[in-house]
């Protein structure tokens, strides 16, 4: 039998176009949330939504929605397809954008062929999923699902000292809708794996049934600034050295364990940051992830215990600020089965898996049945210009999304 298909050229063309928006002077793709460069990406996305004849809605936290209200769907909860279009610094072109543009592509395909859904179909681009400029990450979907008060979120101060609410207003995306104004009947997110599993196993489709828990903390260590030449090692309270010990502790512990636990220190700063002055302060971030809540708590406790030991051994002050904390998430088994069924119908291998990254789907799962579809990431590389998924794999994933959305938009969820 032959299957309906999305328009490969239209989808791939839009991914390429959006991927060129927001390049910096060195050619790096940088569309940090609510920045001038991200505004350009938002404007392009909204233009495409309007070209597709969709109703455009923006909420108070800047989430953008393209709504297709077919005939006779009034009052029905929508099927929502979503992801994000903000990026990290020096990003690839697929993370987030693929899922958003594939969602739009699915709706256009269904509209063009006169498909008659029994409920609205919505594509969503959520604000600040990456969390590079403002913490926590996945903020737009967290606010939308009621997990964070919108007023508090809008007051978030960024790494550059800006206030999110001011920036959203400045770029014209402080919308009029209340977050959560549409409660989805079901939510599906299509995303690159950002890991090496699907490629290594030669499987084109991942049916994501759960998601790692994430713990983000900011650690500040205080010692004494002092002259690098005249202060004997034994008399030093070196905040930089103490920070280095934490970094090696976390990595060596994760490497020694035989669990999927990962620990990363991605940001660091010394004060006064001078060649010939012992650092008086070191500030750094800790990103801990594990698919099991109890193990994640165990890692957090191990870090806390080590910081206490370090404070005693080095005579430094230690303070910890929690930036974000999400428990592992279990997705909707019925939608996961829909994804497996769609892959089977198209003769594609499909693997149930855990997401190692955080995604907006984990937030929307608080208010609606949700699941995710993964496609392979070559070399498992992401958050990097070398991020790559082959065109055929991108198209195959979008067609799986198309099939799943059709089923969700016409019938009840199978139980």
């Amino acid at each position: 039998m032959s299957h309906r298909s999305i328009d490969p050229a239209r989808l791939l063309g839009r991914i390429a176009t959006l991927g060129e928006i927001g390049r910096d002077a060195e050619g790096r793709l940088v569309r940090l949330a609510a920045s001038d460069s991200e505004r350009l990406g938002r404007d392009q996305f909204v233009a495409w939504l309007e070209e597709a004849g969709l109703e455009v809605a923006v909420d108070h936290i800047g989430n953008i929605f393209g709504i297709w209200n077919g005939a006779g769907v009034d009052g029905e909860k929508p099927v929502m397809i979503g992801s994000h279009i903000d990026t990290v610094i020096d990003a690839g072109i697929y993370d987030g954008c693929y899922g958003v543009l594939a969602g739009l592509e699915v709706i256009e395909t269904l509209k063009d062929e006169g498909f008659e859904p029994s409920r609205p179909i919505v594509v969503a681009a959520f604000t600040n999923e990456e969390g590079v400029r403002y913490a926590p990450d996945m903020m737009g979907s967290l606010v939308y699902s009621g997990g964070l008060d919108v007023a508090a979120a809008l007051e978030t101060v960024g790494t550059d000292g800006t206030v999110l609410g001011d920036e959203l207003a400045r770029i014209g995306y402080a919308g009029s809708h209340a977050p959560g104004f549409m409660t989805p009947h079901a939510y599906v997110e299509l995303h690159i794996e950002q890991g090496p599993v699907l490629e290594r196993e030669g499987v084109p489709v991942g049916a994501v049934e759960d998601l790692q828990g994430i713990s983000w903390q900011k650690v500040t260590i205080d010692g004494d600034a002092n002259h690098a030449g005249t202060t004997p090692i034994s008399m030093r309270r070196d905040a930089g050295y103490a920070a280095a010990r934490v970094i090696t502790f976390l990595r060596d512990r994760a490497k020694a364990s035989n669990t999927p636990t990962v620990a990363t220190v991605g940001c660091i700063a010394f004060e006064p940051n001078a060649i010939n002055v012992i650092p008086s302060r070191a500030t750094f971030t800790v990103d801990l992830r594990d698919p099991e809540e109890d193990r994640l708590q165990k890692e957090e406790n191990a870090l806390a215990a080590f910081l206490e030991l370090l404070s005693a051994e080095e005579g430094v002050g230690v303070s910890v600020e929690r930036l974000a904390r999400f428990e592992p998430v279990k997705f909707d088994q019925a939608i996961v089965r829909q994804i497996e069924a769609a892959a089977r119908d198209r003769g594609l291998a499909c693997k149930r898996m855990t997401s190692g990254a955080g995604h907006d789907a984990q937030m929307i799962a608080r208010i609606a049945p949700a699941a995710m579809i993964f496609v392979p990431s070559h070399g498992g590389i992401s958050h990097n210009p070398k991020e790559f998924t082959a065109d055929t794999e991108l198209v195959a994933g979008a067609n799986i999304l198309l099939d799943v959305v059709c089923r969700l938009a016409t019938g009840e969820l199978p139980r």
Copy 2:
């Protein structure tokens, strides 16, 4: 017998006044070389030189000289007293400024009382001793003594991307004299110890007979940026972790040795410096010091060997840039004896010692007999707002300088 004395109120008043020039918004003292705030300090110093009736000269690298040409000294080499007035970030008020202002104080005292030197007496403020904004440190005295070409020095690009020559011209201190235009008969530098030795031993005066060698290197480690959640620890090339291992290696090695070797990592930066991205690049500085050249080389070699091991173990790229390198310096024994004699005459205990910090004196020692006088630093604290030396100790040190300069300016050096 009674001794002549400098004017305590005038000296202490000027130290306090200069210490208030260049405070930033948080009240921190920050007079980085050739910055707008340092310009204010330079202008105040020049104003004091002119009030004292001294001839003011500035050379191409921005070194400032206040020259007292007494009667009948034409053609004689000057006795030079010097130090610096640039500071680190969040500095104390004594480092450098004390020696410069005491030099001016000594000259004014001798002028006021009709002293008749047989050679000129000069007070010098050398450019960029701290090296925080431009490397290497002690640059002005290095150029003055012919150790670094002035044209090359003026092209130095700072940590903030500025060019030293442009900045000196902008603040009005690109002078007309060729560096080295006066070859000193002798050079004396009065400075706070910046270490704990004199205070701990209760000795008010240090006669500095030698100075530690200094090695400054910039290390860059290259790994792979990748997603912090989906990249197994075993597949990571984490530049930040590799940097942390170098920091702990240097500190643990120095702590384990029973030598005076000190090792400091004062500056660090990660790229892209995002919470959820494994660092692709880590850049940091290494400051190694030892009074014995052979030991200093041994430490440099140990670091090089460890970096090679790390590159192999972690699969990271490592590159090293030499920022500055000075061998240990032996000062002029005759001047050291003069300092001891002056202290004895005033009934003050005096200790021969090694300087743990770099000073302009080590550069001028290349072209003239030179030595230094130290006074106690409470708690050994320096490069820090808590830097402190008691008024009585400051005055005693300045009077030792007065006596030594008198001897040097009237007779030949005793052999």
